[in-house]
Amino acid sequence: MLSLDYRQKMKVGAWGFVLPIILLHAFAIVIPAGAGIFYSFTSFSGIGEANWIGLENYSRLIGDESFHAALLNNLKWLLFFWTVPFSLAILAASLLAQVKRGAMLYRVVFFIPYVLPSVVVGSLWRFLLHPDDGLPGLASTLGIPGFELALLGRSETALWTVAFVDNWHYWGFLAAILLVAMQGVSKELYEAARLDGANYFHQLIHVTIPGIRPTLLFMFLMTGIWSFLVFDYVWVMTGGGPAGSSEVIGTFIYRTAFQNFEVGYAAAQGVAVASIAITILILFSLLRKRGWEI
C-alpha cells in the first residue's frame, strides 16, 4: 500500500502540472476576452484612453445595416454548411464503409484538401473559377453553355461560391470523422436490415444515421459555431465584395477594428458573435436534456 502522505503529496503536486497551461489560457484567451467585453462599452480607438460610453456600441449595432447583412451572410453560410458538406460526407462515408478495394486511396485523397492552407485553396480556386482561364473557360471551349459567369465577381453568387470552396476543403474531413463513427455501428443491424430487404437508402436512414447520431450532432454543433467565425476564405477570395455582398462577421470585425480603428465597436461585434455561439451551445444542451442523446 502507498502511504497516505505520499498520496497527499501527489494530489497537491497535481495542480503544479496543470497550472502553466491554465495561466497561458488566462493570459492569451480569458483576459483578452474579458478586455473585449470591457471595450464593448467604450469608444476605444486603439490608442489613448478607453472612454466609457455605456450601451452606445450595442444600440449602434442593432441599427447597423451592414452588420445585419454580414450576419445574414453567416446564416446563409450556416445553411450551406449544415447541408452540402454533410450530404457529401454522409454519402462518401457510407459508401467507403462498404468498399474494400481502393478504400485507402479514396480516404487519403478525400482528406488531402483539409490539410492545405486556406490561402492556397482560396487562390487555387480563384484561378479555377476565372471566367476565361478557369473551368468556365473550359466549359465554353467544350461548347457547354451557361458557365461563362464570373461567379466571384457577382453579388448574387460570390458568397455561395466562397462557401462552396470552403466546403471543398472541409467535406473530406467530415467524411473521415463520420466514417470512424460508422465503423462503430453494429454489423448485425445491417445484416438484419438486409434480411428485411432494405436497400442502400433504407439502411442509411434506419441504421447508419441513427447509429452515428451522437457524432453527427456534435459535428452539427461545431460546424454551426464555426460558421459564425469564418474569415480566411472570404478574405482571400473576395475580400467581402463585390460591394460588400460576401461580407461576413469575421471580415466585418477585422475592418471595424483595424481599418476604421473603432475597437470598442468591433469588441461589441465580438460579444455578439460570442452570444450566438453560446446560444447554439445552450440550444444543443437543452435538446440533449430532452432526450436527444447528443
Binding site: W15, I22, L24, H25, F27, A28, V115, L124, G250, V263
Partner: protein
C-alpha cells in the same frame, strides 16, 4: 446467384460515385501541379490540362522571388515552438488530469471544453492591443503563445484519452519505490504513450503550418511572415502569373502533404478521436 449480381452491381455503383468524388477532390490539385510545370505561353493556351513540355524553372524563380526559405523557416519556427509547448505543458496537464487524482479535475475539464468553443473574434482584437503593450506583437514567440493557447485544449483532451488507457499497475510499482511524478511521467508514461504524443504533434503541425487569420492580425513585418501570409502577398503582387503562383503554392504545401501521407493513419486517428469521443 441473383444476390451476387445485386451485390456486385451495388459495389460498382459505389465505386462510380466514389470516383466522381475522387475527381472532385483531386482535379484542382492536379491543375495546380500541372500549372506549376508550364511555361506562361503554355498556360495561356492550355490552362487546365497537363503541360505540353515539363518545365522546372518556375520552382527556381518562385523559390527566389517569394523568399521561400525565409518564410518556410518562420513557419517551421512557429510549428516547432507550438508543438514543443503543447507537448510539454499540454502533456503535463493531460497527465495530471488522467493520472494524478487532481482535485477539481471535473472543473478543469469543463473549463477546457468551454475554451474550445470560445469564438476567436471575442478575444483576437483585444489580444492585439494586449500583445502590443507586452511587446509580443509582431513577434514569432508572441504568435507561438497564442497558437499554444488555442490548440492546447483539444490536444489535452486527446492526450488524456491516450493516457487513461495505460494500465495503472505500471505506475503503482514505481510509486511504491517512491518515484517522483516527474520520473514516472518521463520514464514510464512517455515511453508507452509516445504514439499519442506524435499524433498530437502532427495535428498541431498541420493547423499551425496553414494558419492565416491570427498571423495576419499579429504580424506586420513582412520578414516575419510565415508561408500563409507571404503566399497571399505573393499571389497579390504576381497576380496573373499563375505559373509562378502555382509553383509557390506547390512548394508551400509539399511539406505538409508529405507529412500527412506518411503519417495519414495516425493523423486521421487523432483528428477523428477528438470528435467521436
Amino acid at each position: 446467384m441473383n444476390n451476387a449480381i445485386r451485390t456486385s452491381a451495388r459495389v460498382l455503383s459505389s465505386h462510380f460515385i466514389l470516383v466522381v468524388l475522387f475527381v472532385f477532390a483531386a482535379f484542382p490539385l492536379a491543375v495546380l501541379i500541372f500549372n506549376s510545370l508550364k511555361s506562361r505561353t503554355d498556360l495561356a493556351q492550355n490552362p487546365m490540362g497537363p503541360p505540353t513540355e515539363i518545365l522546372f524553372s518556375n520552382f527556381v524563380t518562385a523559390w527566389n522571388e517569394s523568399a521561400f526559405l525565409l518564410h518556410a523557416t518562420n513557419s517551421a519556427i512557429l510549428v516547432a515552438g507550438t508543438v514543443a509547448l503543447i507537448l510539454t505543458l499540454g502533456g503535463m496537464a493531460a497527465y495530471s488530469l488522467a493520472r494524478l487524482e487532481l482535485p477539481g479535475a471535473v472543473v478543469v475539464m469543463g473549463y477546457m471544453i468551454s475554451l474550445t468553443a470560445f469564438p476567436v473574434w471575442l478575444y483576437l482584437v483585444p489580444l492585439f492591443f494586449q500583445w502590443r503593450t507586452l511587446g509580443l506583437l509582431d513577434t514569432l514567440p508572441g504568435l507561438i503563445l497564442i497558437y499554444t493557447a488555442i490548440n492546447s485544449p483539444l490536444a489535452i483532451f486527446l492526450l488524456r484519452s491516450f493516457l487513461v488507457q495505460i494500465p495503472k499497475e505500471l505506475e503503482e510499482s514505481a510509486q511504491l519505490d517512491g518515484a517522483s511524478r516527474w520520473s514516472i511521467l518521463l520514464r514510464i508514461i512517455l515511453p508507452i504513450s509516445w504514439t499519442g504524443f506524435l499524433t498530437i504533434a502532427l495535428v498541431v503541425a498541420v493547423a499551425v503550418w496553414g494558419e492565416f487569420q491570427i498571423a495576419f492580425v499579429i504580424l506586420q513585418d513582412t520578414d516575419k511572415y510565415p508561408i500563409t501570409t507571404s503566399f497571399l502577398a505573393f499571389a497579390e503582387s504576381y497576380g496573373r502569373d499563375w505559373t509562378l503562383t502555382s509553383a509557390v503554392a506547390v512548394i508551400a504545401i509539399a511539406p505538409i502533404v508529405t507529412l500527412f501521407i506518411i503519417f495519414q493513419r495516425r493523423f486521421a486517428e487523432g483528428l477523428t478521436q477528438g470528435s467521436v469521443k
